[in-house]
Symmetry: C2
Subunit: 293 residues, 2 copies
Amino acid sequence: MATMGGILDAQGRTEEEFLAAYDISAYPQPSVTVDDVVMTVDDNDLRVLLVRRGGHPFLGQWALPGGFVSMEESTDDAVVREVREETGIKVGDRIGYFEQLRTFSAPYRDPRGRIISVAYMALLPSARIGGMEAGDDASDAAWFSVRLIGDDGECVMLTQVMDEEGDEEPVTLFLGDEGARAFFSEGRGDLGRLAFDHEEILKCAIARLRAKIVYSCIAFSLLDDPCCFTLTELRHVYEAVTGRRYDMGNFQRMFKNLFVKPGLAEANGAADTKGRPATTYEFVGKGYDEIVR
Amino acid sequence: MATMGGILDAQGRTEEEFLAAYDISAYPQPSVTVDDVVMTVDDNDLRVLLVRRGGHPFLGQWALPGGFVSMEESTDDAVVREVREETGIKVGDRIGYFEQLRTFSAPYRDPRGRIISVAYMALLPSARIGGMEAGDDASDAAWFSVRLIGDDGECVMLTQVMDEEGDEEPVTLFLGDEGARAFFSEGRGDLGRLAFDHEEILKCAIARLRAKIVYSCIAFSLLDDPCCFTLTELRHVYEAVTGRRYDMGNFQRMFKNLFVKPGLAEANGAADTKGRPATTYEFVGKGYDEIVR
DNA sequence: CGAATAGTGTCTCTAAGACAATATCGT
DNA sequence: ACGATATTGTCTTAGAGACACTATTCG
């Protein structure tokens, strides 16, 4: 950014003199964090990544991965770093898709003090979620299946996805108004709710994803391989996110000439399903940059 | 927010003990500002509110109104306060509409240091922009007519809207790539561009508004009186924002049964136009809260 | 062959756009 | 009556959805 070094302000200072004397801490400074709603579609349902808080505040409660932004990085960079540190999972950097949701700034949203949080939504193919491991800040990380209850989807049920061999009871959380939560999760106390205002952030992400999947190409970032997929796989992504069923025939017509071009027939590989093998398609849409909210 | 006072962390502290000992400044703290793209539709074109910088940095250049967030207010509150202080114009608080765009956080976006900015878009009826006056931080505030150049609208021309009696030359700014700006605004140097990264923020707001006007009811917040307007007035808003022309007959059918119900015929008042007087309508859509980006 | 899944054809309905026709004002 | 603007009518086209039908695999 070129500056006009020659111009003097009301105190007769050049820009260089002004900047040299400028004390940025003269204005009060909030702390800034990022929080990320990492979502994927696996086994035909929508899932979200949560971490269990290993320290105060909200010790023991489930939360979105996130943390403090350092001085030399953008919030985009911070969110990639924090998710990596807390869960071992890589978001951004040409894997899947991510975008800002909005910034949450209510003065008392964090008991530690004035902390503003920039919230993100990240989408990952389920094939890329391997190698998950809890980091230093979180005593545990887990995927939760997202299910919407009620006509308007106001109440959200989160059910922990367990390993095959595990025999523990999966954790279930209910987000919604007080009445709904009291009805579904009686007796769990604060452990039945998300830390901070993360419930609001999560609902914001779900709403954004459901709205945006119908007018943008973000669905393709939830496919394991956007360069080789069947229309049934794509349909499952849409059905998991929107919660509605699509007619198979209409879905084919809607997409086969719109976003994709046929892939090689041989790429079908071994038919791991019964019935007629599906044609594979390749996503040829342009980059995600031009998507406007 | 109830807390689980009884649970101890790895150091054996309760949440109260942890919070009492917590030093928030142990993590580095960026400064946080807000910037607002205030827009209106007047005289059939889209206008944006800019202020001329009265101090370093970017002294003398045009910028979006905005400023530092204080410790006791949300960013929503800060944006209302700053626009009021710098221009005398009231946004939010049941006047028009406003929403967050996104947060801009590139590490060197501000020469004063590490400053993160939460950007907003605000829409106002042109009848509510009276009483504009420059405040302390800005040596001047003015409305600029927004005109998009090129097929993709990549280049934006901003022309200062002058008072009736004034005889000064209106300022014109060109936003776009280097080539376009060099072509249109040669010789103006930095005074021909916006301060900070406000060009990026403004483009983001224009894109958001143009995308959102077609699937939400934000157009009604640009009407002088959403409870008494004609379909021609509404059409002018759409035409100013989208830049396209609408067939008058089709536009009527599109809206008269969708968003509005007929107002009282007597409310038409004195016909300040030639031809058949128009019916007035009233916006009966629900609140703006349920609009998802 | 039958079950299962993939893909096509066809019909209806709705909404958008082009454009003609009619209605209602001021002068 | 005439100019100007508002409002309605009609026709065409495109897309979404319901649903029947055909195609291709496995066992």
